[in-house]
């Protein structure tokens, strides 16, 4: 399967030039860019590992790309995403988030069902890879 979290996952993987253009866009909006990685892509895993702090003071896409590259090298077989954070009143949240690296093989998720009273059903989504310990999943 192909994990389709993130803004551009239905497109072919972005080239470095395309990634840089998106970072340029984020910086032009005044957003702070950050890089995160994970090998637990459960849809409700909100807290991917931060690859350093959000780059609040970095206004140059080339500098951001160095961080993106470093993270992709260090975690070549993890998911890596670029986030853009907007501190404007009323937002104070992410405004863009897209995947820039993914494991070579994505085994996906299983769905566990727990039958209850009547036809009630409770669901659990479980990443096949996450059954193994962190760092040894992909």
């Amino acid at each position: 399967m192909r994990l389709t979290q993130g803004t551009f996952s239905f497109l072919p993987d972005l080239s470095d030039k395309q990634i840089r253009a998106q970072i340029d866009y984020c910086l032009a909006q005044g957003w702070a860019v950050s890089v995160e990685y994970s090998d637990d892509p459960h849809p409700r895993n909100t807290y991917w590992e931060m690859y350093g702090m959000p780059m609040f003071d970095l206004k140059d896409a080339a500098g951001v790309m160095l961080e993106v590259d470093a993270c992709r090298k260090a975690f070549a077989n993890h998911y890596v995403k670029v986030n853009a954070f907007d501190a404007t009143k009323g937002w104070e949240s992410l405004r863009l988030s897209f995947i820039v690296n993914r494991p070579k093989v994505e085994p996906g998720f299983g769905l566990l069902r727990e039958e209850g009273a009547g036809r009630m059903q409770r669901y659990t989504t479980r990443s096949y890879a996450a059954a193994r310990p962190e760092g040894r999943r992909y």
Binding site: Q5, L11, L14, Q22, Y123
Partner: protein, 485 residues
């Protein structure tokens, strides 16, 4: 403005009998609205021979303290304050016989936090008043002191996006079709295919509740199976707006609780349930971490005609106060009524922290939303992937684009239709962010994206010539150089 301005002595004013509303104190051309006043702008069409200023005063009277005759019991109250005051009347540009009337209401006329109470005053008796041929509530200014008495949207755009983990693009949805007749099992199939194909949400239609062909529990069970299957297949959060609209409040709570227990992240209600039920469901949604989707079923009966009724921009304001997270607000390019600028005005009302006066978009007042959360507008009805550039250009990122026929009617099936829409959307957002001019380059961007996505090519081929190009009935009548209020 004429003789009715003249103040009369109290002994004259309260003599038993009938007198003009303006003389009773419902017109005050010198009145300066206070920051805490509720202000309503009406479009009035007086009967032949009725003075527009008197007509405005009558509207002020009938929507606040007046009755048809003088009553001495007014003198037991601070009636000068409680009387609404018409303070400005001007002809509607280029439409003879119609006038814009501005009326200010003292804040204490209204119960805090109750749309039912607000509407009982502002649109209560007055719309049937005989001296007027027609009456339309065009816009309202709601003072922050009043706004702060409402909870507003239970989730709001920001938190909805954080819960869904979806940023930087419009969300995609589709309404299950045919909207009536499918069994629960077949209905859930449509949900599964559409979500697995790439949509974020699917949706019950306004009139799918609990009918002989599909009882509500069966629909909920099958839809949540589909949602969870699609979530596992994609690794993305998915949702289906389960319509909990029902005959009684008790039934609605029962349905909403079942949706929650099955793990749904969103429920939906129809506008026809009424203001009290809407506010009850807003509070329930807040308590239960639920996104509340509002389908504006029935609104066109009173929003569409320019001369009479209530503008949708007012309904949008009331719904933001009452507390919904999603609201259908028009597409401008689809099959349903909506002038593009007017529709953008609705979107701004739902999404901005503060609305500036914007007469071209029909926004007559500055409105501070006092930190109330933002409502996600929904564009639905006769739209397809080939219009993606227009939709993104008109409405930006914070909108749910719903392609019902444009997903389910795809020649290669529902999942292919969903994929076509998602690819078209992501390609368009990518291009816009790269600085391309999507309004003009849109078709070329779509054609290029279709090179790596066969379903998108098929969608473009199927619907390329479909457009709904009719004149809108509801457009703002504005003065290009507004006079100061």
């Amino acid at each position: 403005m004429g003789s009715s301005d003249a103040k009369v002595a109290a002994s004259e004013r309260y003599r038993a009998g009938v007198m003009k509303y303006a003389q009773m104190g419902y017109w005050d051309g010198d009145y300066v609205p206070q920051d805490t006043d509720v202000i309503a702008l009406f479009r009035i069409t007086p009967q032949e021979g009725v003075d527009p200023q008197e007509a405005a005063a009558a509207v002020a009277g009938e929507s606040s303290t007046a009755t048809w005759t003088v009553v001495w019991t007014d003198r037991l109250t601070a009636s000068d304050r409680y009387r609404a005051k018409a303070y400005r009347v001007e002809p509607v540009p280029a439409i003879p016989g119609q006038y814009f009337a501005y009326i200010a209401y003292e804040l204490d006329l209204f119960e805090p936090g109750s749309i039912a109470n607000l509407t009982a005053s502002i649109i209560g008796n007055v719309f049937g008043f005989k001296p007027l041929k027609a009456l339309r509530l065009e816009d309202m200014r709601l003072p922050v002191a009043y706004v702060k008495t409402f909870d507003g949207p239970p989730t709001g755009i920001v938190v909805e996006r954080e819960r869904l983990d979806k940023f930087g693009r419009p969300l995609l949805g589709a309404t299950v079709k045919p909207k009536l007749g499918l069994s629960g099992k077949n209905y859930g199939r449509v949900v599964y295919e559409a979500l697995k194909g790439g949509l974020d949400f699917t949706k019950d239609d306004e009139n799918i509740n609990s009918q002989p062909f599909m009882h509500w529990r069966d629909r909920f069970l099958n839809c949540m199976e589909a949602v969870n299957r699609a979530q596992a297949a994609s690794g993305e959060i998915k949702g289906h707006y389960l319509n909990v609209t029902a005959a009684t409040m008790e039934d609605m709570y029962e349905r909403a609780e079942f949706a929650r227990d099955l793990g749904s992240n969103i429920v939906m209600i129809d506008l026809v349930v009424g203001w009290t039920a809407i506010q009850s469901m807003a509070k329930w949604s807040r308590r239960n971490d639920m996104i509340l989707h509002m389908h504006r079923a029935g609104h066109s009966t009173y929003t569409r005609q320019k001369s009479h009724g209530v503008s949708f921009r007012v309904i949008a304001k009331w719904l933001r106060l009452a507390g919904v997270d999603h609201l259908h607000a028009g597409t401008a390019v689809g099959k349903l009524e909506g002038d593009p600028m007017t529709v953008q005005g609705y979107y701004n009302i739902l999404r901005e922290e503060r609305n500036a006066v914007d007469l071209q978009r029909g926004v007559f007042f500055e409105q501070d939303w006092g930190g109330l959360r933002k409502v996600m507008p929904v564009a639905s009805g006769g739209i397809h992937a080939g219009q993606m550039h227009q939709l993104l250009d008109l409405f930006g990122d914070d909108v749910v684009l719903q392609f019902g026929g444009g997903t389910i009617g795809h020649p290669m099936g529902i999942a292919a239709g969903a994929t076509a829409n998602r690819v078209a959307l992501e390609a368009m957002v990518l291009a816009r962010n790269e600085g391309r001019h999507i309004a003009s380059e849109g078709p070329a961007i779509l054609e290029a994206a279709a090179k790596h996505c066969v379903p998108l090519q098929q969608a473009l081929d199927t619907w390329k010539d479909v457009s709904f190009d009719y004149a809108s009935t509801d457009t703002p009548d504005f003065v290009s150089t507004p006079t100061a209020s």
